[in-house]
Amino acid sequence: MIVATMLALEMRLDRNALFVSPTRRYVQRMLECLVEDKELVQRGALAVHELLENGAKYAPVGAHIDLSLALEGDDPALVIRMTNPTSPAHVDRLKQYVAEIQGAADPNALYVEMMCRNPYDESVSGLGLARIRAEADMSLDLLFAAETATIVARSAAPQATQAA
């Protein structure tokens, strides 16, 4: 099956948390010009922010983070990919974390449960990807190559998204 891509954007960013909020704003404004579904625009902006903060946190100093966005299909689905080099130890943790999110029957219940884990430890939230699944209502997939991780966030078709 050939999936039509209506929009494609690719960016390479330095590993720097200072770029995260400006990039979220840029993506949100770009999507506002191209996507009628205002909820999808906000879901995409939220996902971009959390993905980039994750990348900025776990990529080694001096590394680059690659971000791409595409609108695919007739519905359309928003597909966000973020690739960054990371350590094997983090890859293992990421696999476990994403598998737990993927396996959750109720992503919102898992999100709240994760909020309540180690609630007094503010040094690590551990919520970013679960938030993308629950609040942005986007599925998550992981791809690995050598010591590089790619996280793919994909919106469901509009009619399949949850009502708030």
Binding site: A17, V20, E39, Q42, E53, M115, P119, E135, A136
Partner: protein, 127 residues
Amino acid sequence: MLEVRMNPSMKTQGFSASSQVDDGKLMTKLSGNADVAVRTALADFLNQVHEAAKSQSVSQVVVDLRDLEFMNSACLKTMVTWIFVARELPTQSRYQILLVSDPAVLWQRRSVQALSCVATELVKLQS
């Protein structure tokens, strides 16, 4: 003796938080962009809010999020920590938390809903 009470407030580049006591409630307002650069300052602010709420025996702390452009997951975790700390207070001195959000803003709607589920007896929502 004159007693001067300073209500918590803070300001960083791109983010500010303020509070005032009104009718037995501590009214707080968050504005700007709460990203990773703000997490520590927000945690300090919420600690001060907790101490002020205790010392002034307020019945409710209102957190107005409507002027907040975005709050990242690290700052949300800081809110969770505050809710857990508030829940530890003895029942007679415990204050309620009211989160005021803009329902047109997706992250506000969804985030406050999740935060309320952390402590349903303590956290109420208004939109």
